[in-house]
Symmetry: C2
Subunit: 234 residues, 2 copies
């Protein structure tokens, strides 16, 4: 990852917002399609007919498209966009997507629901999907506390099965040292019981250390979440 | 997870295969839609028009559908189907899907490619997506070796960034004790360099211990992969 992979798109903010609403609505429809594709019991002829029309829709969307993945962009108005992200991306139908709340004390959390597309054992969330979501939330907690980083380690303990349906997740900065931030987190079922707990280590990459200001640098050196009130990460 | 969540569907195998080809083709088209939805740059009017037609296709698929998630089914002919699985499910557009090869010595591996839908940092695979895939492959290695289990722990170390594009993953049974199987695994980039390594602990749930035969029980008690030639798990 290099800094030049951040594309600055110079578009009018209002026009951007108009596009965004349509993009988000299309992505929500794509999530419905993913769910329906897993659960449908219609016959082969109808499946083939639907697929033919779907192929045509995909071709229309591809008449103008980015050459590669979405990346992370920053509009001229300063809006940070990671809409392609596999967990929180508004334009990524693989993402549930999670709407994440953040506290500058170094805490992030989300309430969400997972359906058929996230299944592992029958009726249960795939163990790897809980890992995917905890990685994202733990990284957001580190960033919210003003000490962002890339995942260095992630250790997960599966306490009990995670049922499909309404869930919540929360993570908080446990301690800091150098450019390292340790974060703890939990996935919880609808009753609030922890199903999976984790500890993650997030490290600011070397190339990024030269880009941060002195105040941010100092924040990494303090130990313990309580000593580092921090500022919002994004 | 209870045993009765495994639905035995009594369908003719040939008819099933005819349906499967159409279901798989539709799911592949849905994956294309997910990718195109992230990358498209067509205008708002066209996005809205495509969404309207997509909603109609979803409604056609939902005229007959399973009441909940796919689960895991077993046909009358003995075919094991986990087509809804978030990593390997042939009918799940969230899944890449991985085609997994297995060795009864307790090893599983796969070659695959990840596109825009699996992005975290710009151009890179989301760290949680590597965890998702490693969890699945490690579980399959345990099962391939004849000692299946549910994930109890998963510890991941991120050695270097994982680029989007062609990748491979491999996992192998490291040791066994009681109903526990420890598995090690690696995600590798196109050059074969390990990007993420893991160790997972897989535990046979209590309810399942009464269902396994004496030969399988004995397999769990042996220590070390070399002492347990095992049999294919699924």
């Amino acid at each position: 990852m290099d800094a030049d992979q951040y594309v600055v798109v110079d578009v009018d903010e209002a026009e951007h917002e108009r596009f965004l609403a349509s993009q988000v609505a299309l992505t929500d429809a794509a999530r419905q399609l993913v769910d329906a594709t897993i659960r449908t019991q219609v016959g082969a002829e109808e499946l083939d007919a639907v697929r033919g029309e779907l192929d045509a829709l995909v071709a229309r969307l591809r008449t103008s498209q980015l050459p590669g993945s979405y990346g992370v962009s920053l509009t001229s108005g300063g809006t940070f966009r990671n809409y392609g992200n596999a967990v929180v991306g508004k334009r990524n139908a693989v993402a549930p997507p999670l709407e994440v709340e953040r506290d500058p004390a170094g805490r992030a959390w989300s309430h969400f629901a997972l359906g058929a597309a996230y299944e592992g054992p029958p009726g249960l969330v795939h163990g790897g999907v809980t890992a995917l979501i905890l990685d994202q939330i733990a990284g957001e907690a580190a960033a919210a506390g003003g000490t962002p980083g890339m995942t260095g380690q992630l250790n997960l303990r599966y306490e009990r099965p995670t049922p499909l349906g309404p869930l919540s997740v929360e993570a908080w900065v446990d301690r800091r040292e150098g450019y390292k931030t340790w974060v703890k987190g939990e996935m919880r079922d609808a009753e609030g019981q922890a199903t999976v707990t984790c500890e993650g280590l997030f490290i600011l990459p070397r190339w990024a250390r030269e880009l941060v200001d002195e105040e941010t640098k100092a924040r990494y050196q303090r130990t313990g979440a309580g000593d580092a009130p921090g500022t919002p990460g994004d």
